[in-house]
Subunit: 127 residues, 2 copies
DNA sequence: ATCATTAGTATATTTTAGTAAACTATTGTA
DNA sequence: TACAATAGTTTACTAAAATATACTAATGAT
């Protein structure tokens, strides 16, 4: 029932960072095993952001957690970290080219969420 | 910087199940705050599956965890549960219409994962 | 001289999610 | 009579993830 044709073509088994995957999609599921990393991609899909700015949008989140997530995303080659030699420090996070390629995923997420909200949600504070 | 135009049009604030969201995409991120729920959608996007069958594909997973995830997905109106009056019991899980609408998200996930695997992965066991 | 600011790190604690293992109900089969 | 099979539930435990809180370095402003 589950095979190449049905659940995302896998072109064989894929080895990545010591792990073996049968289906390429499993790579995504392992990377985004928590909501935070995909949310960061979502925020950055709009342009670069600084550490504190991200923190503000992701509240409640601690520095430690955000710092860890950003480090993971950098290791996955999905974001880039640029340090500016200023005081107080300025560090900007931007999507890498591979991170940019997640844009279509994000777009579909937004489209689906709007559809879902339209069905089950209640719009308030219309301006 | 983050506003209606930039991060997924939200048509105001959305209230859903007691929670308030500024951006519709946040609904998705809350729903899929763990990898398992989206993986179940991914498996079911291919057709219905029984409890044990899903369990086999999601190993290592305990009955308790899988049971909880399926219950959550049902409450979110994303899957449907059909019980057959047989012994031993047969219960089939299928995507609901709203679950089906996640297909484009899944498709983009698969496409991106293939791209990512092509860049960073190593294909093994070619047949 | 002290404060404010940013981008974190460090330590200890708490919460949460998931695991392991055993159990239930039902009925057909050996 | 006991076992097998499925779809769970229950209880106790563990490990992972996040939190709270305090701290650091560097420098310009008050």
């Amino acid at each position: 029932m589950i095979n190449k044709e049905t659940i995302g073509y896998s072109f064989g088994m894929i080895k990545l960072n010591g792990n073996t995957y049968q289906y390429s999609a499993e790579i995504f599921f392992e990377m985004f095993d928590d909501r935070l990393k995909l949310m960061i991609i979502w925020y950055l899909s709009n342009g670069s952001m600084r550490f504190k700015e991200l923190s503000k949008y992701l509240q409640p989140i601690t520095n430690k957690t955000l710092s860890a997530k950003l480090k993971q995303l950098e290791e996955l080659h999905l974001i880039e970290r640029e340090v500016f030699a200023e005081v107080p420090p300025r560090v900007e996070y931007t999507l890498s080219p591979h991170g940019q390629q997640l844009k279509p995923v994000i777009d579909e997420v937004i489209a689906w969420s709007q559809h879902y909200a339209k069905t089950f949600g209640q719009t308030i504070n219309e301006e």
